[in-house]
């Protein structure tokens, strides 16, 4: 078996969740890497949308921001930001939203706003951006972030975007018809909400990862599903696609722009 890092396993496991039929609203960072690995491996016809208005984009290098020129240059079309959020997102055209976050709780609610009280925060984070409405308007939500005690917390200081709220049928009670978070892909394991309680539960552990490691890195007493499988290790193809796009990206971001634009 080829060597791979926990971070590479996370990106590849996340990429595998996507298919050709997905119309995917892509968050920046880890989600963007996963979505593009999916496009460059098993899902070449996936539609990737970034909130800057670029629809059906096929970037050659990963964008640093949600609005890099590379996204527009390679898009099928580009719309204004109001159109993006009104017609395409609120209009219910997006099957899957792919988000990251600074903190998550056991019901897959996310915080990217503040640590500490809102009025006098200990750490002021960037804020929600598109997340509150991505979380409610996409058919389903995938979340990818590393499993750490600081990130996976018992109680969020601030709910930036709703996952399953207080658990159970909370989404339904608020009138939401979308599924909310259905998978959380970390660097150690994959989580799914329990069908009844909606509490995030381990359904798959990555190769070489022990249950103790997962328990130690989670801020709440984490539960395991009755049947827990081992995540298949990354294939040669998956790894080489991921490493190639990361290498292209590093090179492009170190220069004045993307390779294509500066050429």
């Amino acid at each position: 078996m080829t060597d791979f890092t926990a971070n590479e396993m996370m990106t590849i496991a996340a990429a595998r969740e996507l298919s050709n039929d997905d119309v995917c609203f892509v968050g920046i960072g880890a989600p963007s890497a996963a979505c593009n690995v999916a496009r460059l491996t098993h899902a070449p016809d996936i539609t990737l949308i970034y909130e800057s208005g670029t629809v059906g984009t096929k970037p050659d290098v990963l964008p640093l921001s949600i609005g890099d020129g590379e996204l527009c240059d390679t898009a099928l079309f580009t719309v204004s930001v109001p159109e993006m959020f009104r017609y395409w997102l609120q209009g219910g055209r997006i099957t899957t939203g792919f988000l990251g976050g600074a903190q998550i709780d056991k019901f897959a609610n996310l915080n990217t706003t503040v640590v500490g009280p809102y009025e006098h925060p200990k750490v002021r984070l960037p804020g929600g951006g598109g997340a509150p409405e991505i979380a409610s308007n996409c058919g389903r939500i995938f979340i990818t972030m590393a499993l750490t005690k600081r990130g996976f917390v018992e109680k969020l200081p601030f709910v930036t975007s709703m996952g399953h709220g207080e658990g159970g049928n909370h989404r339904e009670r608020l009138g939401l018809k979308t599924n909310g978070p259905t998978r959380v892909i970390t660097d150690l394991c994959v989580l799914e909400p329990d069908p009844e309680t909606k509490e995030l539960t381990v359904v798959s552990t990555h190769p070489g990862v022990s249950r103790e490691q997962i328990i130690e890195n989670c801020g709440w007493p984490i539960k395991f599903a009755e049947i827990v499988i081992e995540t298949p290790a990354p294939t040669e193809t998956e790894l080489s696609v991921l490493r190639d796009i990361n290498a292209r990206t590093r090179k492009a971001h170190a220069s004045t722009g993307t390779a294509k634009e500066a050429a």
């Binding site: 909130e51 609005g67 020129g69 959020f85 609610n109 960037p126 804020g127 598109g130 909370h170």
Partner: protein, 286 residues
């Protein structure tokens, strides 16, 4: 009709102390040169509006030009925090900053409502989120037809909107291409507007009948500032300088380093200094 003037004159005539100012640009076409001119002219007590305040608003906040900010995502995209913004919110330095925080969807709708001359915008938003608890300007409205309760936010009506665009013709008609963001709405929502452009041409020659064009009679002032969006980019002219965005993290982390950077690159600089960013790329392309 838009007047074609120098950037210094456009800012002097249209940006006043205490104004609500929107300098828009969704990663693309951010009006850096104009923002620097606002700093150089010493405007103060501004209430800044922008969906994605990035480095430019970090600079305005860091020099103490802003009393408040309405926004939906305040970070350095792909890099991390805005350190001057954080210092203002966490430590009230150099002065306290009143914040009004929304989601992107709400801000985009609010600009559109402003452009449409409506008092508020409505959207299916903020469901289950905490922002309505801390922002009194996020309220709700009941649909008179279906009874559905929807989120409502006030329209954005800036005193002045400032944007950067690819080109204008000699009458002051403006063309915007690429990621067009929310700039058209922001200009039409504002009382006054300033557009800096990469070039001024004889014929605007929009590439399609559906191109995004702001007619001269909907714009207050146009200024020719090549390179004026650096370190963001101008589609078709020069790329985003991602290396600078990464470097800003170091520059802005420390108050002294930040102040030195502002002195050298803003206070002691001119709008013409931006031309070198456009020129370097033009030379590379050629």
């Amino acid at each position: 009709m838009a007047r074609i003037v120098s950037l210094a004159q456009a800012v002097a005539e249209n940006v006043r102390d205490g104004d609500t100012v929107a300098m828009e640009g969704f990663t693309h076409l951010i009006p850096y040169a104009a923002g620097h001119e606002v700093i150089r002219q010493g405007r103060k007590d501004l209430f800044l509006v922008r969906m994605t305040p990035d480095i430019l608003y970090d600079q305005l906040i860091g020099v103490g030009a802003a009393r408040g900010m309405k926004f939906s995502w305040g970070g350095n995209p792909g890099v991390g925090s805005l350190h001057r913004f954080r210092d203002a919110v966490e430590n009230q330095w150099p002065r306290p900053l009143e914040i009004e925080e929304h989601s992107h969807a709400a801000m985009a709708n609010a600009y559109e409502a402003g452009a449409a001359n409506l008092p508020f915008a409505t959207l299916r938003g903020y469901i289950g989120a905490d922002l309505p608890k801390v922002n009194a300007n996020i309220r709700s409205v009941t649909c008179p037809f279906t009874g559905e309760v929807l989120a409502a936010v006030p329209a954005i009506r800036p005193d002045v909107t400032i944007i950067h665009a690819q080109r204008a013709d000699r009458k002051g008609n403006v063309l915007i291409e690429g990621i067009v963001g929310v700039q058209k709405e922001a200009v039409l929502a504002a009382k006054r507007s300033i557009v800096t452009v990469e070039e001024i041409v004889d014929e605007l020659a929009p590439p399609s009948p559906n191109s995004v064009v702001l007619p001269s009679w909907a714009v207050t002032a146009v200024a020719h500032v090549p390179g004026g969006a650096f370190p963001s980019y101008a589609h078709g002219h020069y790329p985003r300088n991602n290396a600078f965005y990464i470097r800003w993290d170091e520059i802005s982390r420390d108050r002294e380093t930040f102040a030195a950077w502002i002195r050298e690159n803003v206070l002691d600089a001119t709008p013409e200094d931006f031309a070198r960013h456009a020129a370097i790329i033009a030379a590379k392309v050629a």
